[in-house]
């Protein structure tokens, strides 16, 4: 939900329909509620309700359609336009929606996205902090998580990875098995992505506790660090890798997948042997991709691929279990 023109449908188009950011300019206003059934992790179906933000619709959601809209909600994602001129009106609608949500679906998680951050003048962090305070105040006691996002960079992937992460019940089990794979490959890091959206499902946290993974394994009680302030890597972490690497990878792969589709080819796998690292990105199960990042120069990509092949069966099993609810 969110005000008209705040970017809800564009986000959906980018993340779930694999359209490039440039094509979102052609999207029209959403009329009433658009329901989307998105297959996530194969067996898990996400029921996305993209609610048109025009005043007439908002009023209707809060009155006549109230119980329909706000019952059985798992996650509410409220989108604010960072450049809005009607913040007070937006906040008022938000408060009303929040009240309705707590009334009908008190267990739902609440995520707030301050969107279109690319249009904000530098320094972005001050503006973001200001907005964050405003929405925090409007939320009262309800626990919220706030992200600053834009469809033109990787920040949107970060936000959505966090959102869907809360929907995966056995993240800890996945994490454990990714650690086993990491140990087998002498890898620094192993990341599990969902195949279509390329959102991060789980990562192996090796010896370090990275703030990025901390936010991914978030319970709704944490307010994750906004993307427009760089989260400092934990001092215990010897690797000190780029804090935005997960979402940046999602963004890069998605962009390339789109390029491939234009020549009617489909991206399948990739390997990189760079100066700084070696990585293999290959399919794990029919719904997930795995990326293994290795720093040891003696390790060949073929060996990594072999390990991935051998781990497949286990992960297929795990996935069968995880969605079994």
């Amino acid at each position: 939900m969110g005000a008209s023109g705040s970017g809800k449908t564009s986000m959906r188009s980018l993340i779930f329909s694999n359209n490039p950011a440039s094509s979102t300019a052609r999207l029209g206003a959403t009329i009433d509620v658009e329901q989307n059934h998105v297959r996530f992790l194969g067996d898990l179906i996400l029921n996305l309700w993209d609610c048109g933000g025009q005043d007439a619709f908002m009023d209707s959601y809060l009155t006549t359609q109230r119980s329909t809209i706000f019952q059985h909600v798992g996650v509410m994602i409220y989108v604010f336009d960072a450049e809005t001129r009607e913040m007070n009106k937006d906040l008022e609608y938000y408060r009303d929606c929040l009240d309705s949500l707590t009334q009908y679906s008190p267990e739902a998680a609440v995520f707030l996205l301050v969107h279109k951050m690319d249009l904000v003048q530098e320094p972005k962090t001050t503006m973001f902090e200001k907005k964050r305070e405003e929405v925090q105040k409007a939320s009262g006691d309800v626990i919220i998580t706030v992200f600053g996002t834009s469809i033109y960079d990787e920040s949107l992937y970060r936000a959505w990875s966090s959102i869907v992460h809360t929907l995966i019940p056995n993240a800890a089990v996945l994490n454990k098995h990714l650690n086993i794979v990491a140990a087998a490959c002498s890898a620094t890091e192993v990341i599990l992505f969902e195949r279509t959206t390329f959102l991060v499902i789980a990562t192996s946290t090796s010896s370090s506790s990275l703030p990025a993974s901390a936010s991914i394994a978030s319970s709704p009680s944490s307010i994750s660090s906004p993307t427009y302030t760089s989260s400092p890597p934990s001092p215990l972490d010897p690797h000190q890798m780029h804090p935005k690497r997960y979402e940046r990878t999602s963004e890069l792969i998605k962009a390339f997948k789109w390029s491939c589709s234009r020549v009617r080819e489909e991206f399948h796998s990739l390997e990189l042997d760079m100066y700084d690292f070696t990585a293999v990105l290959d399919e794990m199960t029919r719904n997930t991709y795995v990326m293994v990042v290795v720093h040891d120069p003696t390790i060949e990509t073929a060996a990594i691929r072999l390990n991935i092949r051998m781990a497949r069966k286990k992960f297929e099993e795990l996935q069968g279990d995880s969605i079994g609810t």
Binding site: S269, L270, Y275
Partner: protein
């Protein structure tokens, strides 16, 4: 060299490209997007260019791009047109008025007088602003109007700088292109036959700009036939469907193999390269683990690997006038591999022994080692032609960029969208689909210098240990020339995935020959311009 290179103040002779057009036509955006890695969206914030800015860029050839303000004319340019090899004229596609065409024609007339062999590239730019039909219509109209105007113009307009009145011009062509010279082509013939003019429809928001400028670059590369031949040989021996040699930061392709370049394939490779560049920006670089990895390319460590080369003396310094038939091995296994070397006799002796030592590949496999005969003939051709240029001077400068032990590489595998449902990865069928394999072929020096702490110190150790005498010699050469960067070139190969999976080793081995050939060509290009590499003193030959 077919282009006249004027030595600039630093003594480096760069190929000069003049970027012209009316104000707000998009010149600076083009230069920034291509050569300064600016994203197209950021160009919105660029200020107007007030003075001519000269940007240097080192790709297969060293370039100097002159980005001029919009109001510059032939008179206010300040230098004769003869110093430039190419003129890129940018016209906003929506501008159907006379002004850009008048300015363009003025410059064409000046070229007629002072530099008839100037390449003229016209970019009909900002194509993204119009719909498909209008785009094509405007493009056609601009093309037509330029041609019409050229027909009408008389070249003896009084307000043009006549070379006789401009004593500062001392180009060798000037005397031959006086208006009244009997050797001078008349205007009509010039337009019909000599004028090298090309129109391109471009936009910074898609790949059309890169494709257009790639062609501009290719027209300036004298060694293009040799590069193409290298790639053709590679293609034939590796069952590749297409091979590109890209300049990595600008994403312009320097060469491709001889088969026609399909726009969609080019765009895919360009996007793949953008992704590779992004991953290469330290996305997964680790503060603790990455520097250790970089030691892979440490020349110091390789001295232990090549006992069979110990008999070959270390590389004579670049000031020496000849190099004994030295091969360019990058690892011990390659000492038997046929390589291009400067003395053809040396090569043939080596290749004979290498033929016997190479295991016979099965007749059905076409991915054998590069046939030594064809490669050495290419090598001799390479050495013959440009070789004549430097030997005329008493002080022949040989540039030999040392080879690293490790070059980044990778592969992206694609599958056709419509995979037959019966297909599964465990069946015995070969994998369908294409793989884009890429290898870094030449490293820009900065990539080695970045790990300064580790690499440069070890290099200087190598220096001191092996080349003490040569160092003394090189220091006696006057350091008049500035550093000249090695370009960052990447080879992109499109292969069937089945070939890549089953013949990977051979395909990658063939790349090494390409790498050596390309590096040699790059070195020769720089050599022929009277440059010397400082700070990249070729150390030992491994």
């Amino acid at each position: 060299m077919s282009h006249y290179h004027q030595l600039d103040s630093s003594g480096v002779s760069r190929t000069k490209i003049l970027l012209l057009g009316l104000r707000r036509s998009g010149k600076t955006s083009i230069q920034q997007v291509l050569f300064n890695s600016m994203t197209p969206k950021e160009t919105f914030y660029l200020d107007a260019t007030m003075r001519t800015v000269k940007h240097t860029y080192d790709t297969i050839i060293p370039l100097e791009i002159w980005d001029c303000p919009g109001n510059i004319t032939v008179e206010t340019l300040g230098v004769p047109l003869s110093v430039f090899s190419t003129l890129v004229f940018v016209i906003d596609i929506r501008d159907l008025y006379n002004q850009p065409i008048s300015r363009l024609v003025e410059f064409i007339i000046a070229a007629y007088h002072h530099n008839p062999s100037l390449n003229l590239e016209i970019f009909v730019h900002k194509a993204e602003k119009l719909q498909e039909d209008e785009k094509i219509e405007n493009f056609r109209q601009i093309n037509e109007r330029v041609m019409d105007r050229l027909m009408d113009v008389s070249p003896s307009l009084p307000n043009l700088p006549n070379s006789s009145s401009n004593p500062s011009l001392n180009t060798p062509n000037s005397s031959g292109t006086q208006m009244n010279s009997p050797n001078h082509l008349d205007w009509q013939d010039f337009i019909d036959q000599q004028l090298l003019m090309n129109f391109h429809l471009t936009s910074i928001f898609d790949h059309s700009l890169h494709q257009a400028f790639s062609k501009v670059l290719q027209r300036l590369t004298d060694s293009l036939p040799y590069l193409e031949e290298l790639l053709n040989i590679y293609c034939a021996n590796s069952q590749a469907s297409k091979v590109f040699l890209f300049d990595a930061p600008s994403r312009l392709y320097v060469t491709s193999d001889a088969s026609p370049v399909d726009g969609a394939t080019h765009n895919l490779c360009c996007d793949n390269l953008a992704m590779i560049n992004a991953f290469g920006m330290g996305l997964y670089s680790s503060a603790s683990a990455s520097p250790v990895r970089r030691r892979r390319g440490n020349p110091e460590s390789c001295t232990n690997h090549n006992p069979d080369l110990s008999s070959i003396p270390p590389t004579p310094p670049p000031s020496a006038t000849s190099v004994n038939g030295k091969s360019f091995p990058s690892s011990s296994s390659l000492s038997t591999h046929p390589t291009p070397s400067r003395k053809s006799t040396g090569t043939s002796a080596k290749s004979k022994s290498s033929d016997s030592s190479v295991p016979a590949s099965t007749p059905s496999s076409s991915t054998s080692f590069l046939p030594s005969s064809s490669l050495s003939s290419t090598a001799t051709t390479i050495t013959k032609t440009p070789g004549s240029v430097p030997t005329s001077t008493s002080q022949t400068i040989r540039i030999q960029t040392p080879q690293d032990l490790f070059y980044p590489c990778g592969a992206t595998s694609l599958q056709p969208s419509s995979l037959p449902p019966s297909y599964s990865s465990s069946s015995g069928l070969p994998m369908p689909g294409t793989t884009i394999m890429w290898h870094l072929v030449t490293t820009g020096e900065t990539s080695l210098n970045e790990e300064a702490g580790l690499i440069s110190s070890s290099r200087s150790d190598c220096d001191s240990r092996m080349n003490k005498s040569s160092l003394n010699v090189t220091s006696s050469i006057s350091p008049a020339f500035t550093t000249f960067k090695n370009p960052t070139l990447i080879l992109l190969v499109l292969l069937p995935t089945a070939v890549w999976e089953s013949r990977r080793g051979l395909v990658e081995l063939n790349v090494i020959a390409v790498r050596e050939g390309v590096q040699e060509i790059v070195d020769l290009e720089r050599e022929g311009r009277g440059t010397r590499v400082i700070g990249d003193v070729p150390l030992l030959r491994r």
